[in-house]
Symmetry: C2
């Protein structure tokens, strides 16, 4: 997410919103964070340096980042959402390991093309799509083999 912080401040300015210490800290950590971070995890990280910042403000800032087009919310399991940076990261879909929770990303132009075809066959104007595959990742399969012996 190159230039995320500047883009965010531009967004705030444009909307008559204010730059605050809390937002700075949260956005900085979000940009540094590994992908697919939950609000709770981001809050934990931010709170190391800024213990007074509340989880609420993290949620609010994530929503702003989303509005600015800088973060994308993802909902994999049935529980928590996680968020990932958008800038500098192209569209992609996900492979999710049901054993270790690991998330792997992929892009497949052929699939996307076929999706478009299906959509237009149905007269649909596509805005977004989500392709998730759930299964056992390579590592967890190895681990399973080992255990079975």
């Amino acid at each position: 997410m190159v230039g995320g912080e500047e883009a965010f401040q531009a967004y705030l300015g444009r909307r008559g919103l204010k730059k605050t210490r809390q937002r700075d800290a949260i956005v900085r950590e979000f940009v540094k964070a590994r992908r697919h971070i939950t609000a709770e995890d981001l809050h934990r990280t931010v709170a190391r340096r800024h213990p007074a910042i509340g989880l609420v403000t993290v949620y609010r800032t994530l929503r702003l980042l989303e509005g600015a087009g800088l973060a994308k919310e993802r909902r994999f399991g049935k529980t928590e959402s996680c968020y990932e940076p958008v800038l500098g990261v192209g569209h992609h879909d996900h492979l999710i390991c049901t054993a270790c929770g690991g998330i792997f990303e992929f892009e497949n132009v052929e699939i996307e093309g076929l999706q478009d075809r299906v959509a237009s066959q149905h007269g649909f104007l596509i805005q977004d799509h989500k392709l998730e595959m759930y299964g056992i990742c390579r590592e967890c399969r190895k681990r399973g083999e080992r255990r079975r012996r």
Copy 2:
């Protein structure tokens, strides 16, 4: 969902569970219902004839149906789950209209084949997948055009 009721009773018997008036009523309505029904909607329907049946029991029965392999839970939006019959309905994916909430189903063997290829390229053993496309359906597009004039 052909023979859903009998399959359900067989499942109950197999697991030492009991056949009850409530379960009968709920399963009957579920089988009759249109696809993609929420627990709340199913409860409303059931409650017309059986006002004493609680939403809790609907949830519990849906979970049983799922365990019996007769219902599949789907989570489209970010809020409620909905459930659809499994028997007599092959695997399919969904087009969801963000304007009217309509849900359209499709199957595409080519896409599924490519998915398998992507998965095996990553060493993944696939258990399940979900492909959802969000956009504006044909009807809503027409309605939009009309409005714009």
